[in-house]
């Protein structure tokens, strides 16, 4: 039994149970399945051997490696399973078969893709994440959500198609799709590299490809947004770490990604959208670290992804709880909720200080590795951008979310505290945010627990850690200088907030739609498509008429000449035909005679 459990990709179990869950009508039975399966998944993962292909299937001559655990994908898979467990608890107050089942299947697809040992398996689960997650948006049941889900699905499927294109090139060039040391690319000239990069870039929400995220997540259901925040983008981060470590362009893309969402998050009113921009900003840190590609940086990306999945989920949960009780997540309509939702307030604050990277909270022990790696490699401008973004994170996720929701101007709304299951999920997430960040008073606990799981450890480093040729060193987050500088950065930023607020310089929260680059395809792009449709609708029939007329006339002419009743068939044809045949024969004979 144990050996069987250790041979099956836990993601597959989640997918199967998820699909079955869609058919189970009894709420409590279904929810027990949803909560228990990720726990079994974690046990399966703990039992699995590292570094060997555990499940292989041969399909049409291609070896599909369905399950391969190593020190790079372990931490991502574990984070996905924990997130899936928390999401299941968070959803206990709802009775929605499709949402429950698809949330688990979506998590399962992300887990399965993480542990895929070849590109084809990765592609299959990559697509399942797209298809299963769209239901979490659709179940919101509004027209806006429906339209957003279709845009979301289109973009996600495009990512899958690009991945398929890329893997075809890889297969043609290498004859194998295995994701091992040879599996990662060395330059964009490698066959398929550009396609696969583009596929990952869409899912990681790179600048100008990011709009699907801010478009879809805030329109999803209360539970759906929490589920969505965990998987797709971090799967892409993992995929980049696996296949594109040390690509310098990622450093700059990542740095830009950390900075630009800060400005959008400041003016955005919908707090779930603010969190979506914040998600983008956090991904930037991870992408930048992968671009640096040193062991410290890869560890930074992995630790950041783990911590981020938990605290971002926590923030989405707290805003979701408010949305659930109050019926809106707009900053302009909220405020003063600490009076009626104290536990939610407390958990939201823990999420906020975690993402802001205050010492003793998870962001501090995770993000600092990336900052340190960037500084060590001497990228001055990038480092300055990340430092700016760190203050920006404090602005939108650290202060704006809790302040405008729970404090600030009292909206006068008095509601009940969030349902117990929501509080439980938030409580566990808060516990993890603190537990993985405490100084390691007891060896193996505190941040050591997180650091021991990182890909680049001296004992069992992942392949990607060796690529840069840099030495693997032990990182110490709690140094006096580090705590001092981080506190200086954050506390002075807090002071800036207080002064700006006191002097009325902080822009008020106003309802409205903030334009982003998706304006291009939602307004002019849509307009152009609509215009083309209209033009085609009018021109089409006319063109068909003209073409029909011309071809009809031509046919009539030909028929008039060549048909059995045509001019050539009328009297005189036989004699003239015989004469012309004789003339032609004569010409041919003459040519042959001269030619010889």
């Amino acid at each position: 039994m144990t050996s069987l459990l250790s041979q099956i990709n836990p993601g597959l179990l989640l997918i199967v149970v998820g699909f079955i869950g869609c058919l189970v009508p009894v709420q409590r039975v279904r929810q027990a399945m949803m909560v228990a399966t990720p726990v079994i998944g974690v046990i399966m993962l703990a039992l699995a051997d590292r570094g060997t292909s555990l499940a292989v299937a041969n399909v049409m001559g291609i070896d599909l490696i369905l399950y391969k655990v190593d020190s790079l994908n372990f931490i991502f898979g574990l984070a996905f399973l924990i997130a899936s467990f928390l999401n299941a608890i968070y959803a206990l107050h709802t009775d929605d078969r499709l949402q429950d089942g698809m949330a688990l299947a979506y998590a399962g697809a992300a887990v399965a893709a993480t542990f895929a040992g070849d590109l084809m398996t990765l592609f299959i689960f990559w697509e399942i994440t797209a298809v299963s997650s769209v239901f979490l948006i659709l179940r919101a049941g509004t027209k806006a959500a429906y339209q957003a889900s279709m845009r979301y699905l289109g973009i996600q499927v495009l990512s899958g198609v690009l991945l398929l294109d890329g893997l075809a090139y890889v297969y043609k060039a290498n004859g194998t799709l295995t994701l091992d040391t040879l599996g990662s690319f060395t330059s964009f000239d490698d066959p398929g590299a550009k396609f696969i990069f583009a596929a990952f870039a869409i899912k990681a929400a790179f600048p100008f490809l990011h709009n699907w995220l801010q478009d879809a997540y805030p329109k999803a259901t209360v539970v759906g947004a929490v589920v969505l925040s965990a998987f797709t983008t971090k799967l892409a981060v993992y995929a980049f770490a696996r296949m594109f470590p040390g690509f310098e362009i990622l450093i700059w893309i990542g740095a830009f990604m950390t900075v630009f969402p800060v400005f959008f998050a400041v003016i955005e009113n919908d707090l779930r959208k603010v969190l979506s921009y914040s998600l983008n900003n956090q991904l930037g840190f991870m992408i930048c670290a992968i671009g640096i590609g040193t062991p410290l940086a890869i560890n930074g990306a992995a630790a950041h992804a783990f911590a981020h999945i938990i605290y971002k989920g926590l923030l989405f949960m707290s805003v979701g709880a408010v949305l659930y009780r109050v019926g809106t997540a707009k900053a302009s309509e909220l405020g003063g909720l600490y009076k009626s939702m104290p536990w939610t307030t407390l958990f939201c604050i823990i999420g906020a200080v975690s993402i802001s990277a205050f010492p003793l909270f998870s962001g501090f022990v995770a993000k600092s590795m990336t900052m340190s790696a960037v500084a060590t490699e001497g990228y001055v401008i990038v480092w300055a951008m990340l430092l700016f973004a760190s203050a920006g994170v404090l602005e939108h996720s650290g202060i704006k979310i809790p302040y405008f929701t729970f404090f600030g101007h009292d909206s006068g709304k008095r509601v009940k505290e969030a349902p117990f299951n929501m509080l439980l999920a938030m409580g566990i997430a808060s516990f993890i945010c603190i537990a993985i960040a405490l100084p390691a008073f007891v060896p193996g606990f505190g941040y050591n627990w997180l650091y021991d799981m990182l890909p680049c450890t001296a004992t069992a480093p992942a392949d990607v850690c060796l690529a840069s040729g840099k030495e693997i060193k032990v990182y110490e987050p709690y140094t006096f200088d580090h705590i001092l500088t981080q506190m200086q950065l954050l506390m002075l930023a807090v002071l800036a907030f207080m002064l700006l607020k006191r002097f009325g310089l902080y822009p008020p929260e106003r309802p409205g739609t903030i334009l982003d680059t998706d304006w291009l395809y939602r307004k002019p792009g849509y307009g152009l498509a609509k215009w083309c449709g209209t033009v085609w609708g009018k021109v089409g029939p006319t063109m068909t008429g003209v073409a029909g007329g011309i071809s009809g006339k031509a046919f009539d002419r030909l028929e008039g000449v060549f048909s059995p009743q045509g001019r050539l068939a009328r009297g005189g044809l036989t004699s003239s035909m015989a004469m012309w045949s004789a003339v032609l024969l004569g010409v041919v004979m003459l040519v042959v005679l001269i030619a010889r």
């Binding site: 509004t142 959500a145 400041v266 001497g378 203050a391 200088d481 002075l492 807090v494 409205g512």
Partner: protein, 126 residues
């Protein structure tokens, strides 16, 4: 708190929504846990006291920088108060940019057709 009067088939009291709301909030409109955790927020002097506290902490952090030489990979970051000033400046820049950006980019809520409506799984819709 009122005593529930309705009983279910097993004879247990049925708590209705209004009761549980009142259990949460009591007469003065505040959750009992809120009073413990965030009661201090209600005090009128709190905002000023917080500001003074933060200023004192900031001055303290700055003072440490004056007397303590930090070692950084990037040498310009060793300048006294570099992180403090960067944090203050970055935050102020991000927030103040909200004024022009808001004017430039904010449109009406139904700019893209139907405004974002509330999802179906909120409490009021169930």
């Amino acid at each position: 708190m009122t005593t529930p009067t309705e009983r279910d088939a097993n004879g247990r009291f049925i708590k209705n929504e209004a009761d549980s709301t009142e259990i949460n909030h009591g007469a003065d409109d505040m959750h009992p846990v809120s009073k413990i955790l965030f009661g201090w927020v209600e005090n009128k002097r709190t905002p000023l006291a917080l500001l003074v506290l933060v200023i004192v902490v900031c001055v303290g952090l700055f003072a440490v920088d004056v007397f303590h030489h930090r070692h950084e990979y990037l040498h310009f970051a060793e300048a006294t108060g570099f992180y403090a000033l960067w944090g203050f400046g970055a935050f102020a820049l991000a927030v103040l940019s909200g004024w022009p950006l808001g004017k430039l980019l904010r449109r009406s809520e139904d700019y893209y057709g139907e405004a974002d409506t509330v999802p179906n799984d909120v409490e009021d819709k169930q």
